[in-house]
C-alpha cells in the first residue's frame, strides 16, 4: 500500500514538472513568466521554512535573515566584482558559507529557548541584521539599496524561468530526501517530544542545529535567486514581512509536507496577482487587501490542515467510501 501511494505521488510530481516545463512554450505573457519564477523562488524559501516549522516544530520570526544574507551576498558579488556567471556561482558558494555560519551560531545560541521565546529571539536577530544593513551603508547603500547587473545567461526571462524551476525541483528533491532520511525522522520526533527523543539517545541540540542549518542554507540560496530576479536589493529583504510570507505560505500549503510550501507559494502569489488585476477592473477590488486577508481567514475555516491536508482528507474519504 505504501509503495502504491509513493508511485502515485511520483506520477503526479512528474506531471506537474512536465506542465511547468511546457509552460513558457504555451504562455506568451512575460508577466506570467516572472510570476511563476517568483513562485518557484518563494517556494524554496517556504520549503526551507517548513524544515523548521513543519518538521522540527520550531517557529522562527527571523527566517528572513538568511534570505537577506543570500540576496545581499549575491548582489554585492555581482555589483563589486563583475557580473559573470562565475561571479554568481562563487557568490552562491559564499552564501552557503555565510548562511551556514550564521545558522550554526544561531542554532547554538538560541535553540535552547522554548517556542515563543525562540521565535522572538530570532525576530531580534533578524532585526539586528536589518539595522546592520541599514547602517553599513558603504556596502549596502542603506534602505535605498542598489542595482546591479546579472550574468547574461540569466537575463533572459525564459532562461531564468528554467533556472528557477530547476532550482526549485532540485531543492524539493534534496529537502524531501533530507526529511525522509533517518535524520529527518528524528527531527519529527523532536517536534513531537524533545525530552523523549533525547532519552532515545539522540542529541537534540545537534539535530536542531542541523535543521537550522539546512533551513538557513536553503533560505540563503532562495535569497540569492530572489536578488537575481530583481537585479536590485535593499533592506526590505530582511523585513519581518518576508518571514511572515514564508510562514503563511507554509501554513496555507500544509506544514510538514514540503510540497505544501510549493502550493502555498503558488496560491498566495497567484491570488495576490489575481486580486491586483481585479483592482483595475472593478472599484470594489481597489481595497483588494481586504479580500486577500479574508482568504487567509477563510482558508483556516475550510482547510485548517492546509491544502495538502485537505487533499489527504479527501483521499482518505475517497478510499473509504
Amino acid at each position: 500500500m505504501i509503495t502504491r501511494r509513493l508511485a502515485s505521488s511520483r506520477w503526479w510530481i512528474g506531471l506537474v514538472i512536465l506542465l511547468l516545463v511546457g509552460f513558457p512554450f504555451v504562455s506568451d505573457s512575460r508577466g506570467a513568466l516572472i510570476l511563476m519564477t517568483q513562485i518557484f523562488i518563494y517556494a524554496v524559501f517556504a520549503m526551507s521554512y517548513d524544515i523548521l516549522l513543519g518538521y522540527t516544530g520550531i517557529i522562527s520570526f527571523g527566517h528572513a535573515m538568511f534570505f537577506g544574507i543570500g540576496a545581499y551576498t549575491t548582489a554585492i558579488f555581482l555589483h563589486r566584482w563583475d557580473h559573470s556567471l562565475l561571479s554568481f556561482l562563487v557568490s552562491l558558494l559564499a552564501v552557503l558559507v555565510l548562511t551556514g555560519i550564521v545558522s550554526y551560531l544561531i542554532g547554538v545560541m538560541t535553540l535552547r529557548l522554548k517556542s515563543h521565546f525562540y521565535a522572538m529571539l530570532t525576530l531580534a536577530i533578524a532585526g539586528l541584521f536589518l539595522v546592520l544593513a541599514e547602517k553599513w551603508r558603504d556596502v549596502t547603500k542603506g534602505s535605498d539599496g542598489f542595482t546591479f547587473y546579472i550574468p547574461d545567461l540569466l537575463k533572459d526571462r525564459t532562461s531564468l524561468y528554467f533556472v528557477a524551476l530547476a532550482f526549485m525541483i532540485l531543492m524539493f528533491f534534496l529537502l524531501k530526501r533530507f526529511t525522509d532520511s533517518p535524520t529527518g525522522k528524528v527531527l519529527q520526533a523532536i517536534r513531537e517530544n524533545e525530552q523523549r527523543t533525547e532519552s532515545l539517545g539522540y542529541q537534540i541540540l545537534h539535530y536542531k542545529i542541523i535543521a537550522s542549518m539546512v533551513a538557513g542554507l536553503a533560505a540563503g540560496l532562495s535569497g540569492s535567486m530572489y536578488a537575481i530576479t530583481l537585479r536590485f536589493v535593499n533592506t526590505a529583504v530582511f523585513g519581518t514581512n518576508v518571514t511572515l510570507d514564508a510562514l503563511l505560505m507554509t501554513i496555507i500549503g500544509g506544514v510538514g509536507t514540503l510540497f505544501g510550501s510549493i502550493l502555498g507559494s503558488a496560491l498566495i502569489l497567484l491570488v495576490h496577482a489575481g486580486l491586483t488585476d481585479l483592482a483595475k477592473i472593478h472599484w470594489i477590488f481597489e481595497r483588494w487587501m481586504i479580500f486577500f486577508g479574508a482568504i487567509y481567514i477563510l482558508a483556516v475555516m475550510f482547510f485548517p490542515q492546509g491544502i495538502v491536508g485537505m487533499f489527504r482528507q479527501w483521499r482518505a474519504k475517497w478510499s473509504k467510501g
Binding site: 512575460r30 533572459d156 530576479t229 530583481l230 537585479r231 536590485f232 526590505a236 496577482a273 491586483t276 483592482a279
Partner: protein, 394 residues
C-alpha cells in the same frame, strides 16, 4: 493590453522599440508605476491623477501627439520592489509600453531602473527622490522630473543658512534622512553656517524627546528637520518648547495630510516643493481648476504637479521627435530639453537628466477656514540656485 504575442525579448539587441514614424496610428503607450495600496498609496494616487491631467493638458484634450493616440496603463507597485519589477516587466514586455513613469518609492524605482536600461525604454522618475537614482544607479534612460533629496536640502539650506548661523538637524535614521542631511550640510556650510548637531531618530519612534533634549542641549539657532513618513515629531517639538528656548524650527512642508499635523508649527520658516497657490502661471491655474473639477473641489496636493510634469515632459519629447518613441533617438532630444510644468519651466540637464526646477521659500501661517497652516511665499529659489551637484559617473 490588447497587444498580440510578445516576441521573445532579445536583451542586448536594439530592437526593443516597435514603433517608428512610419506606423503613426500605433498608440504611444505609457506605463505608470505607483503605490496605489500600502503606506504610500496617497502619493501614488496624486501622481496618477497628475499624470492624467498632464496628458490632457499637453495634448489639448485630444489625447494624441504627433498623430498617435496615447494610452496610459497604471500599475500598483504596493511599495514592494519585487512587485514593482514584476509590474514593470509586464508593462515593458507584455504591454510593450514606450515609456515608464514612476514610482512613489525610491526602492521601487531603483528596482525598475535596470529594466529600463535593458529594454531601452525611457523612464521618467516621479516622484521618487533618492539621489542615487540620478547618481550611482543612473543610466542614460533615466530622466527625473521629480526633485531629488539634494534639491530639497539645498532649498532648505538656502532658506535659513547664513554666515555664522548655528544649525542642528533632525532626520530619520535611514538612507533618506542621512543623504538629505549630508546634502544640506554641504550647502549650509558653503553658506557659512555651522552644523552643531546631526540628530537622527528611529522613523517609527514614539518618543522624540530624547532627540529633542539633545538638540536643546546643543543650543542651535535653527533646527532643520528632514522628515517623511506617517509618524511626525511636530507635536513633541511643541511640547518640548523649542521655540521658547530660542530654537527656530525649519523644514520642508509636504502634502496636506502632513500639513495638518503641523498646526503647532505656525510661524515656521522653511521651503516647499509645491503648494498649489504658490506658483503663478497658466499651467498651474489650469491644473487647480481642472483638478477641482475632476476631484470634487479638492485642490491638487504635493505630487499632483509632478505627475502632470512627467506627462508634459513625455508629450514634449514625442512632439520633438515627431512621434518617434525609440529611446535612443529620444535621449539626445530630451537632454537639455526645457518644458512647461505647473512650476514653470523645467530643464533636464544633460549630465544626469535631473530636471532643474523652482523651489519655494515659505512661512507657515494660519488662515481662516483652512484645516491646516498654509505655506505663504517668501521667495522663489531658482532652478539654478537649487541645482544639485552632478554625481553620476558618466
Amino acid at each position: 493590453s490588447q497587444q498580440p504575442a510578445a516576441q521573445p525579448s532579445q536583451p542586448g539587441s536594439g530592437q526593443g522599440a516597435p514603433s517608428s514614424q512610419g506606423e503613426s496610428k500605433q498608440p504611444i503607450k505609457i506605463g505608470v508605476l505607483a503605490s496605489l495600496t500600502g503606506a504610500l498609496e496617497d502619493y501614488g494616487k496624486q501622481t496618477t491623477r497628475g499624470f492624467e491631467l498632464g496628458i490632457a493638458y499637453a495634448t489639448g484634450g485630444t489625447n494624441e501627439v504627433a498623430g498617435r493616440p496615447i494610452e496610459v496603463i497604471i500599475e500598483d507597485t504596493e511599495t514592494k520592489s519585487d512587485v514593482a519589477v514584476k509590474k514593470a516587466t509586464k508593462l515593458i514586455e507584455d504591454d510593450q509600453v514606450d515609456f515608464l513613469v514612476g514610482s512613489s518609492s525610491s526602492g521601487d524605482t531603483l528596482a525598475v531602473v535596470p529594466l529600463a536600461e535593458e529594454h531601452k525604454k525611457i523612464m521618467v522618475v516621479e516622484p521618487a527622490a533618492a539621489d542615487s537614482i540620478t547618481a550611482d544607479n543612473w543610466n542614460k534612460y533615466v530622466f527625473r522630473t521629480a526633485r531629488n533629496s539634494s534639491q530639497d536640502a539645498i532649498a532648505g539650506a538656502l532658506a535659513i543658512a547664513k554666515q555664522g548661523t548655528k544649525i542642528a538637524t533632525l532626520a530619520p535614521d535611514y538612507a533618506f534622512g542621512r543623504d538629505g542631511v549630508a546634502a544640506f550640510k554641504e550647502v549650509a556650510e558653503k553658506q557659512g553656517a555651522q552644523i552643531v548637531l546631526e540628530e537622527y531618530a528611529d522613523q517609527k519612534t514614539t518618543d522624540f524627546t530624547p532627540n529633542l533634549q539633545k538638540i536643546i542641549q546643543a543650543k542651535p539657532e535653527y533646527l532643520f528637520v528632514i522628515w517623511s513618513g506617517a509618524n511626525t515629531p511636530w507635536s513633541q517639538i511643541a511640547d518640548m518648547k523649542l521655540q521658547e528656548q530660542g530654537i527656530k524650527v525649519s523644514t520642508g512642508t509636504a502634502d496636506f495630510a502632513t500639513l495638518k499635523t503641523m498646526r503647532t508649527m505656525v510661524g515656521m520658516e522653511g521651503f516647499t516643493l509645491y503648494y498649489y497657490d504658490l506658483p503663478k502661471n497658466e499651467v498651474n491655474d489650469w491644473l487647480i481648476e481642472e483638478h477641482k473639477k475632476r476631484h470634487n473641489g479638492e485642490a491638487p496636493d504635493l505630487f499632483v504637479p509632478g505627475g502632470m510634469t512627467a506627462a508634459m515632459a513625455i508629450v514634449e519629447a514625442v512632439k520633438k521627435s515627431n512621434g518617434d518613441t525609440n529611446a535612443d533617438n529620444l535621449i539626445p532630444l530630451m537632454e537639455g530639453m526645457s518644458f512647461d510644468s505647473p512650476k514653470g519651466k523645467m530643464t533636464f540637464r544633460p549630465e544626469d537628466h535631473q530636471a532643474l526646477q523652482v523651489m519655494y521659500a515659505i512661512r507657515l501661517e494660519q488662515k481662516d477656514g483652512m484645516e491646516w497652516p498654509v505655506p505663504v511665499l517668501m521667495g522663489e529659489l531658482s532652478p539654478e540656485d537649487t541645482a544639485p551637484p552632478v554625481r553620476n559617473k558618466r
